[in-house]
Symmetry: C3
Subunit: 100 residues, 3 copies
C-alpha cells in the first residue's frame, strides 16, 4: 500500500483555547484535525484534580512546512501565556496528497 511520509503534530492545551487553536490550524494550512478531550498535568506534575479545567488534544497531519509554521505560532503567541505542549511524530499516511 502506497503511503506518504508526513508529520503528525499533536497540541495539548486548555479546552478554552479550542477555537483559537483551530483557527491557527486553518490559517497555517492544515487540512483537517482530530480533537479529543483529555485531562492533563503539566511539568510541575500537579494532580489531575488540581488542574483548572479540561484539556483538549488536537492532532493534525501536515507537511513539515506547515508543522514549522504552527510551531512558530505556538512559540510566539501561546507558550509564553498558556500551558500548551506540542510535539511532532513521523507518520506514513494513506492518500497523503490530501494533507498537503
Amino acid at each position: 500500500m502506497h503511503t506518504t511520509n508526513l508529520t503528525l503534530l499533536t497540541i495539548v492545551g486548555e479546552a478554552i483555547l479550542k477555537d483559537r487553536l483551530l483557527a491557527e490550524l486553518e490559517r497555517a494550512g492544515a487540512r483537517g484535525h482530530t480533537l479529543t478531550e483529555c485531562e492533563g498535568a503539566g511539568s510541575r506534575h500537579r494532580r489531575v484534580s488540581e488542574t483548572l479545567g479540561a484539556n483538549i488534544k488536537l492532532e493534525t497531519i501536515v507537511s513539515s512546512v506547515v508543522a514549522d509554521r504552527l510551531l512558530a505560532t505556538l512559540a510566539n503567541d501561546y507558550f509564553p501565556k498558556f500551558a500548551v505542549i506540542a510535539y511532532l511524530s513521523p507518520v506514513a499516511v494513506v492518500r497523503g496528497e490530501k494533507y498537503i
Copy 2:
C-alpha cells in the same frame, strides 16, 4: 527493557462505522485495539460544528503484514465511500509477541 518494533495503525472515522471497522480488525488478524471518541474535521476543514456526528479513533498495534492488509481493505471498501483517515506510526512495544 526488551521491546519489539511494530506498527501502530490509527484509523479515524465516523462513529457509525465502529462495528464494521472492529470486524475488519479482527478479520485482518489484529489482536486488540483501543477506541477513543473524538471530533474531527476533514480535508475541506469544515468546522467541527458542521460535522455530521461523532468520530472514533481506532488504534491497533500490528505487524507490517497485518497493517498492509488493513490498509488495502480500507482503500478498497472505505475510502471511496466514507470520510476515513488512516496512518502508520513506528512503535516499540513491550511484550511485542502478543501482537503478532
Copy 3:
C-alpha cells in the same frame, strides 16, 4: 523551530489503575502526562462490550532513562496481574528541556 528528540510512552490499562499509574509516573521522574478515557479489547480480542470497565490511556513524554524505568516497573508489577499495554514512540518536542 528547535525541537528535542524524546520518547512518548503510552500506557493503556483499566481505569481502576489510574491513581496507581499516575503515582508510578511521578515516582519514575515523568514531568507531566495526558490522560484520555478509552475502550479497549486485549489480545484475545474480546468484544468491547465484554470488557470489564473503561480503560485509560496515559501518555507521557520522557527521556529514554525514565521510559526504561517505567517499563521495568510495568513489567515487574503490572503485566503479571493486569491487562496493561505499553509502547514507545519517537517524538520531537518543542521546549523539550521541560520534560527531562
